[in-house]
Symmetry: C2
Subunit: 176 residues, 2 copies
């Protein structure tokens, strides 16, 4: 199977209130196998934080702000990709992940509190991680982990300046 | 096997800066099978937000603030529980979850940015979800999902006032 191409589209981001949560969304995507994040808002703080992590910790992860979500979705579909919208109102993850897993090119929409109703219709799959309120960060983490079936937990990040040496107790790092 | 008893201990919380992230930590615990959250700080806002969700969405989840982390850990261990500390410096989740999964009573420490060095020694397991920087919310979500082997995604929440009816597109809820 050719390598997957998974990209996040973050919508509904409000620059002051959501900066930290959106940065966590972006970093979760990076750590768990996505290729990058489109941000449908203007926020250079998020872009810079994620660029700093990628420079230091390796891999090739992009974060682009000022993206228009309608054209982003349209272009993604025109290139043959599918669109998954994470929402507590959707079908439960274990019931749909088997159908999504074989797809190669997946845009994952992660909304903040309010999401335009139109998104539900544009998405190929509306997916819930439980139907309970919790966090878009945990929803994204579980979606990616189930999509990659846990293999992403051993991803390598080439070109890193620093690496952690896993240890039973304490902090060990290696400068590369 | 008797039912598991999993509780979160949130440390390093700074009331203004961390309120939203800590609330997400607490709600992630609730949605994914934990019994409650101890908060080692004073923050009635977090306690209230979580109580509101539990009242409306069901189940029995507690959130207690002003907890002293040293005595919390000591008492937990005295009652025969084990302590897992989620940290990017620990052993990678897939390498240790098999050893942790059979344990019944588990305190999961979720730190904010700075964690006292002592915690690493007090924990029975220091567990990393990848050795990459991302989010304590996604780390907790993946830890709980791997601990419960995905079964928690179908948990029921008795006594709810509202329930989502999973749907392919759109929002459907049911008042109970």
């Amino acid at each position: 199977m050719p390598e997957k191409d998974v990209v996040i589209l973050r919508i509904g981001h409000r620059p002051e209130r959501d900066q930290r949560v959106t940065t966590h969304v972006g970093l979760t995507g990076r750590a768990l196998g996505a290729r990058g994040m489109y941000l449908a808002a203007s926020d250079k703080g998020v872009v810079q934080s994620i660029a700093d992590v990628t420079e230091r910790w390796g891999g090739e992860y992009f974060c682009e702000d000022n993206v228009k979500w309608r054209s982003c979705i349209r272009e993604w579909k025109a290139e043959g990709g599918i669109v998954v919208h994470l929402t507590m109102y959707g079908l439960n993850l274990p019931d749909v992940i088997g159908e999504i897993r074989p797809k190669r090119k997946i845009l994952v929409i992660v909304g903040a509190e309010k999401v335009p109703g139109e998104i539900y219709g544009l998405a190929d799959y509306n997916v819930a991680v439980t139907g309970q309120p919790h966090s878009e960060i945990s929803s994204l983490a579980l979606f990616l982990d189930h999509l990659f079936a846990g293999t992403e937990l051993r991803n390598e990040f080439p070109g890193a300046q620093i690496r952690i040496i896993p240890s039973k107790a304490g902090k060990q790092t290696e400068e590369l």
